[in-house]
């Protein structure tokens, strides 16, 4: 690890922490969302600097898409999205501070007290190849489980979020063609 990488890590780490704190101190929901995006982009940067360029860039890519979608929901569900009239939406602030402070102290103590083992082996020349080969080889089961989890998420999220079922679309006997949809157009209609 040379000086440039250490400096990059330090800068990314500081920005990640500062923006993480901003997430819970800003008033405007749009700013909150994009502070979180900045923090998670720095996380992706840290991952990339630590020698995992693929996972780092993919994290950034995913977080940008996620946070833009999140901004849409934030604006939709928060009563004061622009934060023009600051208000507190917290409960049990003191307890939460105590719990998270205690967890932080414990974790930091553990980090410095644990006798970490020495580094085993050298990183492979192509780390992307390493993770790909692992996911398609010895870690295949992980990959399969993740795939099924994602499939279940897609189905579950759609079922939960949609209001209209097939009877709303196709009538009581499911024989209404074309389907009765609020928006016309698209494919086949």
């Amino acid at each position: 690890m040379d000086t440039l990488e250490s400096a990059l890590l330090a800068a990314l780490g500081v920005v990640a922490l500062v923006t993480a704190v901003l997430v819970f101190t800003c008033d405007s929901m749009a700013r909150v969302t994009f502070a979180l995006l900045a923090s998670l982009c720095c996380v992706g940067g840290v991952v990339a600097v630590l020698g995992l360029p693929y996972l780092g860039v993919v994290t950034v890519l995913m977080m940008v898409m996620e946070m833009v979608v999140m901004a849409v929901f934030m604006i939709a569900y928060m009563m004061n999205p622009a934060g023009l009239m600051p208000m507190s939406m917290l409960h049990n602030k003191r307890g939460s501070l105590a719990v998270s402070g205690a967890v932080f102290a414990t974790l930091v103590a553990a980090v410095f007290l644990t006798p970490w083992p020495a580094q085993v082996g050298e990183p492979p020349p192509d780390t992307t190849f390493q993770v790909g080969k692992a996911l398609m080889g010895e870690q295949m089961l992980t990959m399969v489980v993740l795939g099924f989890v994602l499939l279940a998420t897609m189905v579950g999220a759609t079922v939960l979020a949609t209001r209209r079922g097939r009877y709303d679309r196709f009538g009581d006997d499911l024989d209404l063609r074309p389907a009765r949809d609020p928006v016309r157009g698209g494919v086949g209609r």
């Binding site: 922490l17 993480a20 998670l40 999140m70 939406m89 974790l107 692992a134 993740l146 994602l150």
Partner: protein, 101 residues
């Protein structure tokens, strides 16, 4: 020393997220806290891979799993928020405590 500091960064992100997840009322804000906690886990996994066992791919697989967890948490979180808001006009956890013992 860099290794420990990166782990402290991970712990910091995790605990800021934990504070948010515990203290926020709005469901969407709680999800932001959880995202930060998973971000901390990603940093820690990458650090373990880089500084302890770069020869094994397990650290990278943990990062992949964490990223997937983030996506799942987001998708299902918004679906649940949408469902409960549509049914009862509820958008904070304090208004949805029917199952509180």
């Amino acid at each position: 020393m860099t290794f420990e500091l990166v782990l402290v960064l991970a712990a910091g992100l995790f605990c800021v997220g934990l504070f948010g997840a515990l203290s926020q009322q709005s469901i969407v804000m709680i999800m932001m806290g959880i995202e930060l906690m998973i971000g901390g886990i990603i940093v820690a996994a990458a650090a373990f891979w880089h500084f302890l066992a770069p020869v094994a791919a397990s650290g990278q697989v943990v990062v992949v799993a964490a990223v997937v967890a983030m996506a799942v948490e987001m998708a299902l979180g918004f679906a649940v928020t949408t469902a409960i808001y549509r049914a009862r006009r509820v958008d904070t956890t304090d208004m949805a405590e029917d199952l509180k013992g």
